[in-house]
Symmetry: C2
Subunit: 704 residues, 2 copies
């Protein structure tokens, strides 16, 4: 357990004067509390500041990023380009080992399937979406609203490949907003450090502070084969901050559950997290052993292991929160206050009814249906278990099969993810030139089949369909050996051939997905009818009650869309040791043992004498973040970029359920560290110049 | 979820007339409720019945067994001899594949390190042990009582290798009894079926009913190189039972937590089970992948995988119980009734104080210390995580190092497990000729070091001692490659050489254990002082209160010592299907798919035409059992053996915490199935004759 406290008497006094919750909230840009933030931090940001920061903020896959030059240069985290790096590498040329250091723009390489986007417009469409669901129940309710969202998206964006439209549900159905994005489909890798420079300490140091990781990388947005012009961008500020300074973080936090009721949280504690964590732990074991079988296996397994370990460690932090009596009492107390406010207001309580009871009634069903839904269909919105263990080949096969089936219907009668407005996203994922590794694909499929059989039991009709008389081992081997879907041309031909091509295909994975699809759709229908629809309805009532009780002084749960959050540079301590808010390169040299994962990356180590030991590597800030915020620009009061958020702490994982000012810390890789790496380690002079940093400094002597 | 109900109207009426809890309890033989059992079951057992059954009951490792002939023949489960079978096998000659089928006694093979014992006498020593701890606290308290127990054992048994004495704590310190055993140190394997005949359905069918498993094997007790004479033994009854018939089960249930308070159960739910399960799941994944690397790896990993999966599945059942609101409410209600009874009795409550509060106070400390204690020292008495991942080489190294250190002290000042009375047990484990496999040992050590680092954090001083600057991967490889402890002669020489030999040893594993031992001992002292001693004290008060409130109409928690439990043959159902209490060979042929683990063992399949399809394989009974009961003789009202308990169901796992008559089912392999296997499959005519069964029957035609 880490103890956190303020860094100085000045900051202490400041904090005492402000509300305990003053820094809480992942705010949408159209409802950011400018006055409150300025009062809390002593800043003077305004609407034009907000617009500039928003238009410099980038969504990149599941990550966030920031534009840092007028020619499309973007900073994100190295772990956000890990898949791109892996896709561009081969067992013979592993950029994770060497770093990716193109000496000019011409050498920048396209990330397969990569795309990035910038939020340009927000429009309220709440009335239209809610109206579409009126008078309907069950799956009809959810489908009608999804269809309406698809229509709104198509109306607003048409088929322009440079624009994407998305109807975003906020406040769990309390609001629907149309987000319009400028989309870049050609994203190239411009710089990545050695993997170990970004991941020093590996899984052990993940979700912890102090940290010593240069978890940053650069991509560049391209348009028509040339660097995109991006006149609105962050100014690069490589200077050191001081403790207590205000920090804003702009990015796309993935998902929080702060508006969930106690009953819903118990389902996560008792059912969702335990299953997710237990089966992930076994996959981790299989992958670790596989990675030890040889150098090639180690290369293939590296990225998947990091992914599994990250999700798993986050889950441990969340479980720790859900079994912490003090924390849970606090959340229960907030629910009690809210319910009392509603009960005391007769008109309001008459209008919203008892959504808490409705949600409590859903939970026994959700507990029963979570495992089949998560394992056979995915998209529960509650946990991390994914269909087919995340096998790319399986996911492509399903996209091809369902895409063919759904495209044969009118857009508004399809499964929501195949509405016309969403097809470009499906296609770009499907056609991307990404390598797959048969051994890894088989491990994933075998593990998934085996865990599905275990959790649903061998006598489940679903499991009989999944396996027939085969074992998970034999079936997964047969499917992966036989399929040709690793070839993007094969995928494209099947997609373009539509239903006839799919039905005529002899590809075993296509045939398999066809054979099991009816079950998966039935599970989804059951879930939609019995869990999703009643949950959405009750959540909408709760949202209405919350607006009535608290006005818009509340922020919505994170949904993977752009938010702005604010806080301060703030230290932490571990027992017996003062850490403060900053770590330096000197600390890195101290912590290195030479043994994995505490070995310093070779090029970084070789540059030791050129690096200022007092240069700041990472810093801790109190801003409210969650996964998906990775790569989020950290911005100072002037709107300059001062770092990229790359992590938080295990204790901070509780902020999925509620913001705890005492423990919440986001971990930032500083522009100072990145500048040092670019200039003193990787010789990226053309980028240093593009950032407007002085290209050379007199080399300093290392002090030790 | 399985639904359970009674088989017939007659049984229904019977059950309704008796108390709901009439069949609850794992009773000690000196406090068995003869009258109540006879009333409940309509039987007429008496003290001589009890004596005969007790003297026919065998403890064999962590399992139970029963004497079935006058010449030392003993039946237990096949999974109880799995380690023996593995130790006697080589990758070239795998008895798990072929079955072990000696055609005469001369071919019976000694199980390395195997021993068996029969409980002959029980003496009350409560006053002596409790007195030894009077006025003491912390580790001094636990050590003084352990020392006194050691003295009592030595006084009663001396150094006779044919007798073992053990002071047993019952009612969590409410009683101490001296158990005296007749010990057999030469135990030979007399028959084992093909592994798949015993494990049909593998982990999927484990802890479930209906089952189709011949999970039985025979061992034989030897004395002076000849079969031991065992005039007291069970009569073999191979006939089919009917539903509702009374069944007694005599065996050594391992551990229940029924006397734990609510606060203690929450620690198990929130801390103990989650850690145990999560890390076991990763080990499972590592072992599964390892087993897929080749035939030899599959052979080496088979036994460990079965062990891990069994513990893990049991843990899932227990977790399901601890998050089941109805079940937990019932337990909480029992605690409320008990506390009220104490509170209403002024004299009693004045005398016992508030042990519930004392135990609640211990929990935050237990939650903090569980991980270090389980991972570095073991013996928490709460969970399943064991030091060094169960590496045999490590455990031997620790026994050698600690044995040398402790034997340099007087017996009553040693760690309890090295008291004079316990040294023979330590030695027989240490000197046994058991094979080890370097790859498996390294997987265990690497996993353990890696998980210890993860759960205690990389900055823990303990972890620094454990790893120094090495990685778990490199350290485990260095230790296992370098150690010579796989050779029993090396172990014996170090043991006999005592402290000088240990200190002079250059064996890397001996040196490693020496280097980390101070930390492990410190963790144990901390645990003893802050958790074990206060828990023992408060539990003793609770036990006193319980005796005062309920008399001896309560039974003690299971502690791996001999118990007798009773119930009935009773059916179960799965949705849409009537199962009843029995499964037959016809059901086996139906369930077989041919794919692992639903492939019928080859010799069993080849005998299909010779086997009566209606012969009963397995049956379900309502008797109260728990792990460790494996191999327990199932006995009818006449005291004849009718089967061996080998399993229960996932739902039954809740009976660790409380007996739930509605779901509790023990699963029995019948003497009818074993007779069929011996006679019709494996041609074990000399055993059939020894059991007094007609050697031949006219072959029946299979009906399908």
């Amino acid at each position: 357990m880490r103890h956190m406290f303020f860094a100085s008497a000045a900051v202490l006094a400041f904090a005492a004067a402000s509300s305990a919750k003053a820094e809480e909230g992942m705010w949408t840009y159209d409802n950011f509390p400018i006055v409150r933030a300025n009062q809390t931090l002593g800043t003077s940001i305004d609407q034009s500041w907000l617009d500039r920061v928003r238009l410099s903020s980038v969504k990149f896959g599941g990550c966030s990023a920031g534009v840092i030059s007028g020619e499309g240069l973007v900073m994100t985290n190295n772990h956000c380009v890990a898949t791109c790096v892996a896709n561009l590498s081969t067992p013979q040329l592993q950029y994770a080992e060497t770093g990716f250091t193109p000496k000019s723009r011409e050498e920048e390489l396209k990330c397969p399937g990569g795309s990035a986007e910038i939020l340009t417009d927000i429009t309220d469409v709440t009335a239209r979406v809610q109206k579409a669901g009126e008078g309907l129940d069950g799956q009809a309710f959810t489908q009608a609203r999804e269809a309406e969202a698809g229509r709104i998206e198509t109306e607003a964006c048409g088929s322009d490949p440079k624009i994407r439209c998305q109807v975003v549900s906020l406040y769990r159905g309390g609001q629907f907003k149309l987000y319009k994005f400028r989309k870049y489909s050609d994203v190239r890798l411009a710089w990545a450090p050695e993997d170990r420079a970004a991941t020093f300490g590996g899984d052990l140091d993940n979700f912890s502070f102090p940290r010593f990781a240069i978890d940053a990388a650069f991509i560049r947005l391209y348009e028509d084969g040339k660097p995109a012009l991006t006149p609105t961008h962050f100014t690069w500020n490589p200077d050191k901050l001081t403790e207590g300074e205000p920090v804003f973080i702009t990015g796309n936090p993935g998902s929080t559950q702060r508006l969930l009721t106690q009953a819903q949280l118990m389902t996560i504690r008792d059912v969702v997290l335990p299953m997710d964590q237990l089966i992930a732990s076994e996959l981790r074991g299989r992958l670790i052993r596989y990675s030890e079988e040889g150098d090639e296996q180690a290369f293939i397994a590296m990225d998947p292991i990091v992914g599994v370990e990250n999700t798993y460690k986050r889950g441990r932090g969340r479980m720790a929160a859900l079994i912490d009596p003090a924390f849970m009492d606090q959340l229960a107390g907030q629910e009690t206050v809210f319910r009392r406010r509603v009960a005391e207001n007769e008109a309001l309580s008459g209008q919203v009814g008892d959504p808490w009871a409705a949600l409590a009634e859903v939970q026994p069903i959700a507990r029963e249906l979570y495992a089949p839904m998560a394992l056979l269909e995915g998209g529960t919105g509650m946990g991390t278990t994914s269909v087919a263990g995340g096998s790319s080949l399986f996911q492509w096969a399903r996209a091809i099969v369902r895409g063919a089936q759904e495209r044969a219907k009118p857009s508004d009668q399809r499964l929501g993810e195949f509405a016309d407005s969403r097809l470009p996203g499906v296609q770009s994922g499907l056609f991307a030139e990404r390598p797959t590794y048969a051994a890894l694909e088989q491990i994933r499929l075998e593990w998934w089949l085996s865990k599905t059989r275990e959790w649903l039991t061998v006598d489940s009709p679903y499991v009989r369909t999944l396996l027939g008389k085969e074992s998970p081992e034999d079936l997964s081997a047969r499917l992966i050996t036989g399929t040709k879907l690793a070839d993007p041309a094969v995928r494209r031909a099947l997609w373009e051939g539509g239903l006839p091509a799919v039905q005529a295909s002899t590809d075993p994975l296509i045939q398999y997905v066809l054979a099991i699809d009816a079950d998966a759709r039935a599970v989804r229908a059951d879930w939609d009818n019995k869990v999703k629809a009643p949950t959405d309805r009750a959540s909408e009532q709760l949202a209405a009650a919350r607006f009535a009780a608290f006005g818009d002084a509340v922020y919505p749960d994170a949904t993977g869309t752009l938010r702005l959050t604010y806080g301060r540079v703030e230290g932490t301590d571990v027992p017996g040791q003062r850490i403060g808010a900053f770590t330096t390169f000197a600390g890195l040299w101290d912590r290195a043992t030479g043994a994995e994962p505490f070995n310093v990356a070779p090029k970084l180590l070789a540059a030791k004498d050129r690096i200022d030991p007092n240069a700041v590597m990472n810093m801790a800030v109190s801003s409210d973040t969650i996964g998906g915020s990775s790569g989020s620009p950290a911005v100072n009061a002037k709107g300059e970029i001062i770092g990229a958020n790359f992590d938080s702490t295990v204790l901070t994982q509780r902020n999925a359920y509620g913001y705890d000012r005492n423990v919440n810390r986001s971990v930032i890789v500083t522009t100072q560290a990145v500048t040092t790496a670019l200039r003193d380690v990787y010789g990226m002079d053309h980028l240093i110049q593009e950032l407007g940093v002085a290209p050379k400094v007199a080399p300093r002597r290392a002090r030790r």
